[in-house]
Subunit: 674 residues, 2 copies
């Protein structure tokens, strides 16, 4: 009975979260394993040649491997799935806001994202793997929720429950949390990241389920790392994730240290907003190049690779080596030739000039590398850049503060993350989980607050900038002041097409062919009703189902519940992204054109409505809070006999501020039932 | 100009958060300081008498001090502010959901809450200070947001910006986060607690501001503790907050330890749900006693105090002492007489029987102590109970697991918290911040997930149970299945009173006197409009302002914007809780009764509306998501000429399931504009 179905549904919901967690953990681990083995092998080859003093050979093989990997990544991205380029976080964020960019959750995107990211990171480019991992796991969640991929015959019948927008959205939210959790081994940070940065609609039940997903990720990762500790994973763990090892160092601090921390936050904010604006400009140039063709895309990626390789190989020669001091407490670390080290594990570990060079290289290579045609992340370059400038400031401040320089690096990373990404609680928790030191909390909070506040004065956060460049019509949570002066009837999209409760097939086909709207009001009127009044809202995709099933009537009369006999709930299940029906694909004969459809049984008779005098700001709030795609605007005189019933639908697109971006966006969202 | 006003507003918003943080830190510190000094002095006196072997004297003074403190707390609670009794978290949670219980945010409640909690905790009763601290800081936030208290002449003119529901609600949310942060020194935990447990409406901007508030709390607390470390705070820090010191112990764990952790979670879920149901029953009995009169209230509190004192003094005699072993690595801890200690700092530190006795005492005394007429918290007794049974299970499992027994205590506390309070992420983060050990994360997550899932099968979380007992009409986030079968027109409160756009004073006064509604639809009709149609929604409190200002017209004609000349925005500012105008207090002469008011300028012409066919489930969602108090139900034939315009308002009360509770609730919320 119904109870069994409900139980099945709840069971499946948790099972899917569990699967997302397991797959997230496995994929995250696999990516790390692959990167460390590929990159590790490369470094072993290069370093062995260096030990034999074959420097040109070493450079040659280093450059060749880098170029080969970059080329592979750029080619699969350009030819197989252009949607896999970049971080993927903006796309997922836009999807969770209701913008369904084409191809972002397809199987080919998933494959290209994983392989492309492994090779581009192994090629030593200044790109990260956290963002792509968020996209990857979200993509897995999306594929699971739509019951696999029909194209590749990977479908599961028992996943049909989830073929609706809400469950898919919730599962993708869990996926994004699991992705970040897998990238940083930060389960709580992942939950907060999904809450703060990704999700536009959040319910407290989701907190609970997201938390479960990231807990599964954490357990899986721990299990796999236990396996690897017994030495079965090749070079894995020899290099490792970025880890600020400040657990051992003294992290005491006093009120006297607050000014320098504030300064760090302030500089982080300035550098961060500058980073965002430079990245914005760079991406505009890159978009221009990338749009010229696939060859140009690949050449651009290779150019960046060559520049990076030269810098990586050349810059270490700038810094002088110091001999290993005789009184060192432990043996100097070395690879085959002793005596070369740079004061490890002390505040003087790095020389100021080295730090400065490292910072500048990171800062600009990070900006230049993001926009290439490959799956590139932003987190790691930003953390590295921030850490290097934090440590640099630590060196400069000298004896004026008692803070450890490693701590300066963490705070620098925090300030730069705050200045670019503008998250607060989630970044704070992620950093705490990376450093495994809760005593840092007040300092990290302080730095994040200052850097975000400073940076917010200049521009938007980095993901919003990228979304704007991509032209996604993202719905902000806040209404602009001018929206209070407008009413919904001012922006309603018109002239509006509406259907009668029992409508001629010909009219329906004509309207569907001539408009791009995805929702239509249904109007009742004489002779079936005393007066003309709105009945409800019907979706384009549901009308298409009716047309395809050819549920036609030869005379206009109400069908009642009989209408459902020929249809199952499966017919109305949400299609996978980009797989929506098209009116052009449905063939209808001349005879059928003269027949009728009773739309009543398939119409949502309980849509969200707004009075025509509702302010635009309030309507925007409704769209955001209730997660709407259509809002029925009802005129106050809707029931008047003589007057035609002038119903309208406010679409999400007119609500966004930047009308110039909208045209592009409408093209981009063709697969979407906005 | 307007920009200056906006800047002022933003500046004030952050300043208020800062003030809430500062006051939260100070008050939290003060409460701890007071408790540790009062209770510490008591223990010093008792223990000195014990050392002189004057056991009856010792018991006498111990009992006398406890009884005196309890008596003080019960008397101020019963006579000055009954609203200060209990934890306060349910009240604050209900307020954030839109239920304004009388007196919960008054100055006298604040004072009683602080003093009463200090004395009742110092009296060694099994009650905590976390819940009262949340209420205290929320109360401070509420008072700040309404510009101080007029009654005590503590008002600030520059706080007038915040005299509206939304800003007050946001600030109280920050206050609740700051309260928890102050109680546990857990700033991130505080933010998550506010998000997960307290807030019904959450915006991402709020995350940011709450975070700022708790950061301030953390900095203030750290500064004050630095001051105290130099020994200026009497006995403070000698006893201290509950702190699980597991930083030093080995926290490694393996897959083999998972079953016992799952078992721990399972038992925690069972014990937790039993705790909730026993507390429910106990509170029903206590309510019966407490409602009989103040004397009965005070007697009940004293009875619990006497029972607790006997157990506290008597139970340690049950346990045998062991001689200090000669090979102990450090000197045995003692107070004046050597040789008496119980295997400190090893897994055998506590004997199983001691643990069992401690657990049982805690479990039942926690249940019995909560409902007395005093500010009592739930967190600490629950943590203690959970820790003791966790450690007991650790002892029982013996050598079957390699987990440290201290770790068992933490996991036991987590499972019991999960089983009673049913929070997940926030409890997890709070526990991590208390223990300062992130490696515990996966285990704590696992335990919380299991215990919450198990406990959810039996009953609701502890705060919801208390809210239900208090009769608050709390709006759940989920709609019950039957609500999908009903439409808003089925539950609309009727017969509905509405006003014409230009209405006679007499009619208005009559309607306000004879109904309890707080919102009224305004209808336009001939001769001022072509047909009768709804114009908007006006609030009772705004009508009262107009009546008080006697803005009357001798002839029915539209006034336009002239109407605002006599009124400032201050007149419409939200009154402090419990200070709303009453229609009975406004005197209107016979002559004025015959005059008119033009309601148009003061009517919200852009209210949220619902078609009469909207399902109840969807309406509930709108109430929750958009934070509504009124919803205008518009019939589809609203504009028909002949028909009377049958507008209705769906109130929040009919949406709650338990109609029996509603009558009580309406009485409780008299001060509220629901």
């Amino acid at each position: 009975g119904e109870k069994v179905e409900i139980f099945k549904y709840i069971f499946m919901k948790w099972t899917l979260c569990f699967l997302v967690g397991v797959m997230g953990g496995l994929v995250g681990f696999f990516i790390n394993l692959a990167v460390e083995n590929v990159a590790g092998t490369k470094f072993v080859i290069t370093s062995n040649l260096m030990l034999d003093r074959k420097f040109m050979h070493a450079f040659g093989s280093f450059a060749a491997i880098n170029l080969g990997l970059t080329l592979f990544s750029a080619i699969i991205t350009a030819f197989i799935s252009p949607a896999a380029a970049g971080s993927g976080i903006p796309e997922v964020k836009a999807y969770l806001n209701g913008v369904d960019a084409p191809g972002i959750f397809s199987v080919r995107t998933l494959v290209v994202k994983i392989l492309g990211n492994i090779s581009v990171v192994s090629a030593s480019l200044y790109v990260g793997k956290a963002g792509p991992m968020v996209h990857t796991v979200s993509c897995i969640a999306a594929l699971l929720s739509q019951g696999g991929s029909k194209k590749y015959r990977l479908t599961w019948r028992w996943l049909r429950f989830f073929k609706n927008d809400r469950d898919r959205r919730d599962l993708i939210t869990c996926g994004s949390a699991a992705g970040l959790a897998a990238a940083f081994r930060a389960p709580v940070g992942g939950v907060l990241f999904a809450l703060e940065e990704m999700a536009s609609w959040w319910r407290s039940a989701l907190l609970w389920r997201t938390f479960f997903t990231t807990a599964v990720v954490a357990v899986i990762l721990r299990g796999l790392i236990d396996v690897c500790n017994s030495g079965k994973c090749g070079l894995f763990g020899k290099g490792g994730l970025i880890m600020f090892d400040v657990t051992s160092t003294n992290t005491s601090y006093h009120v006297a240290d607050v000014p320098i921390v504030l300064l760090l936050g302030f500089i982080g904010g300035l550098l961060g907003s500058l980073y965002n604006s430079l990245l914005d400009k760079t991406l505009r140039v890159y978009n221009y190049i990338n749009n010229k063709g696939r060859a140009q895309k690949i050449i651009l990626a290779c150019t960046i690779c060559v520049v990076t390789t030269f810098l990586l190989f050349g810059l270490p020669w700038v810094s002088k080596c110091k001999p290993c001091p005789a009184d060192a407490s432990e043996a100097c670390p070395t690879i085959g030739r002793s005596g070369n080290y740079k004061n490890k594990n002390t505040d003087a570990e790095f020389q100021p000039t080295s730090l400065l060079i490292f910072f500048v290289t990171n800062y600009f290579l990070g900006i230049l590398s993001y926009g290439i045609a490959a799956p590139t992340g932003l987190f790691v370059p930003i953390i590295l850049t921030g850490a290097s400038y934090g440590r640099f400031i630590g060196r400069l401040s000298g004896s004026r503060t008692s803070l450890n320089h490693g701590l300066f690096a963490v705070l620098g990373a925090a300030s730069f993350l705050g200045g670019t990404m503008r998250m607060t609680v989630s970044l704070c928790v992620v950093l705490l989980e990376i450093t495994n030191n809760l005593l840092l909390l007040p300092l990290v909070m302080l730095v994040l607050l200052v850097s975000k506040t400073v940076a917010d004065m200049f521009n938007n956060n980095i993901y919003d900038i990228i979304m704007k460049l991509k032209g996604f019509p993202y719905l902000e949570a806040h209404a602009e002041p001018y929206m209070r002066q407008l009413t919904v009837s001012d922006v309603v999209k018109g002239p509006l097409q509406s259907f009668d409760g029992i409508e001629k097939v010909q009219n329906i086909v004509h309207v569907l062919k001539t408009t791009g709207h995805n929702g239509f009001p249904v109007i009742d009127g004489p002779p079936f009703s005393d007066y003309r009044a709105w009945f409800g809202l019907i979706l384009r995709e549901h009308i298409l189902v009716l047309l395809r099933k050819k549920n036609f009537l030869s005379v206009p009369q109400p069908t009642g519940t009989d209408a459902f006999k020929q249809l199952s709930s499966d017919d109305f299940a949400k299609k996978g992204s980009g797989k929506a029906d098209k009116i052009e694909d449905i063939e209808i004969t001349e005879e059928e054109m003269e027949m009728f459809i009773d739309l009543h049984p398939f119409t949502n008779a309980s849509p969200y409505t707004a009075g025509e005098t509702m302010s635009l700001a309030k309507a925007l709030l409704m769209f955001r809070e209730a997660g709407l795609r259509h809002l029925l605007v009802v005129p106050k005189d809707s029931g008047l006999k003589g007057k035609p019933c002038s119903l309208c639908i406010a679409l999400r697109v007119p609500l966004t501020v930047h009308v110039a971006a909208v045209t592009y966006a409408e093209a981009a969202c063709r697969g979407n039932s906005n």
